[in-house]
Point group: C2
Amino acid sequence: MELYAPIAADLRAVEEVFDREILSDVAFVNELCERVRSYRGKMLRPALLLLTGQACGKLTPQHRVLAAVVEMVHMATLVHDDVLDVADERRRQPTINATEGNVSAVLLGDYLISHAFHLCSSLDSQRASRLVGQTTNIVCEGELMQNRLRGRLDMTEAQYFDVIRRKTAALTATACELGAAFADAAPPCVQAMRKFGDCAGTAFQIVDDLLDLVGAQEEVGKTLGRDLDLCKPTLPIIHALATATPDAQQALHRLLQVPCEPEHARAVAHHARVREMLDRCGSLEYAWAYARRLVNEAVHCLAGLPVGPARTSLTRMAEFVLQRSY
Amino acid sequence: MELYAPIAADLRAVEEVFDREILSDVAFVNELCERVRSYRGKMLRPALLLLTGQACGKLTPQHRVLAAVVEMVHMATLVHDDVLDVADERRRQPTINATEGNVSAVLLGDYLISHAFHLCSSLDSQRASRLVGQTTNIVCEGELMQNRLRGRLDMTEAQYFDVIRRKTAALTATACELGAAFADAAPPCVQAMRKFGDCAGTAFQIVDDLLDLVGAQEEVGKTLGRDLDLCKPTLPIIHALATATPDAQQALHRLLQVPCEPEHARAVAHHARVREMLDRCGSLEYAWAYARRLVNEAVHCLAGLPVGPARTSLTRMAEFVLQRSY
């Protein structure tokens, strides 16, 4: 991607750091890790970390290490998420749990999180370790809250944002904070970069949830409609349940309470009906508009940065959140 | 326990550090953590860390933090192990997965491991973070290997020891190494303490596996016979399969390949027959003798320490491994 052009060489170095870190002296563990490599898609978080570093004035070898750390944390959450969501496809490939079973997938996630912290501890100072540890604490809370709120059709918008800020935006915010902090940016700039990552990450998750409802399976490359199957209310659903006419609310309630076997014909028809209702209530547009506002807020946070290719890439990455179809 | 008398006050301080660290601003996360507290039984690893520190000359506030860290790592592995082993009882209480489901248990384990690293990063130097990260890498490899070797009746003794050294002894060895290192002990003493923890931890796991075969459920306080149900070969089984007469080997093979529903009458009778055969082959005694040799080796590692209550406690803790029935 041309957005990554300013950091292309560094990103390749990050992949090397990543691969070297998870190398094991146990042969079949390496085979499992090989599978994880195929999960590695957009490298969004490492790119954010490197671009914020570069936009703030410099990239150091520490940035490369930290970029590998945030990607490793992200990979660990993907591997565990797929177990918890009983998902069988990710990036057009079968998930680890689908082919190796839940036990291997849980342990592989543990292995990745352990290596993320181990890699982070190779740096001279504890600064990054503290921030990363604090971030993963929050990510876990977000995941626990999300699980707790499953099937709760009375979930509020505030609860929804509390969950996604923790489970998704906390890590993108930290990636951007680390990029700026390790470029020795001034504290207000570090805080602006953190806010950029928070807004962009929150918008990203809103869109991710939208794609689960309205995306095309072959483009997104993972099982869709999982949120409905798992009774996870997302922003459009919460909006519709709060604003639709009483009749429409009742009908939606009934639809959402029917558990479906994923990918059955009935589930497909069922998802289509939910989508139709959300569209009619203006709830899909409401969620898109929310994401647009957050992207604008994110771009606004970049105002203090010097104009240049790194800042341009950050701007376009934030904007891309709204255009992505995968 | 009087063994812990030399460090009783510190151990209480460790509990406070532990509880403070896992405190969340999310109410129900604290309810889950409350459950984890009831898992906290023998505090073996914190006790080893504190006693080695004291035996090497001093205990610092860092020891208390590190003792909480190793206990938190241990708790995380227990919570995940119970999911992977489909265990429903631990310390005479229902497991987290039994009452809260697998999703909560996986996430709670993640939460604990994240907090363990976060707590560790509060120390001034990276020394402990590096060692703890390296240790959890190895623990995860041990767990992955164990899972890979499930049902493999051709597992060798070398493979068995490779697994238990990683999954169990690595953490006890690290606890003892940290105790000595943070008391500023000389490198040979730090290495001797590490070896003490390695030998004692390995013996502990051999006995743990023996108790799964021959223990009394009401004393051990967790579901027994799980290794047989899950087709995990342990030392007595490996010994019997390698040394028994061909007829006995065949009979044992047949017994071990029948999967049983745990706690069914058939499983109980089945476990009793396996036990009987292992006894006849001298395989139970072989495993006990192995553990005894390791305990002697562990005690030998303490020879260089000054005589005193901490050293006495360490000696007796190692010896206790052989007497424990829970």
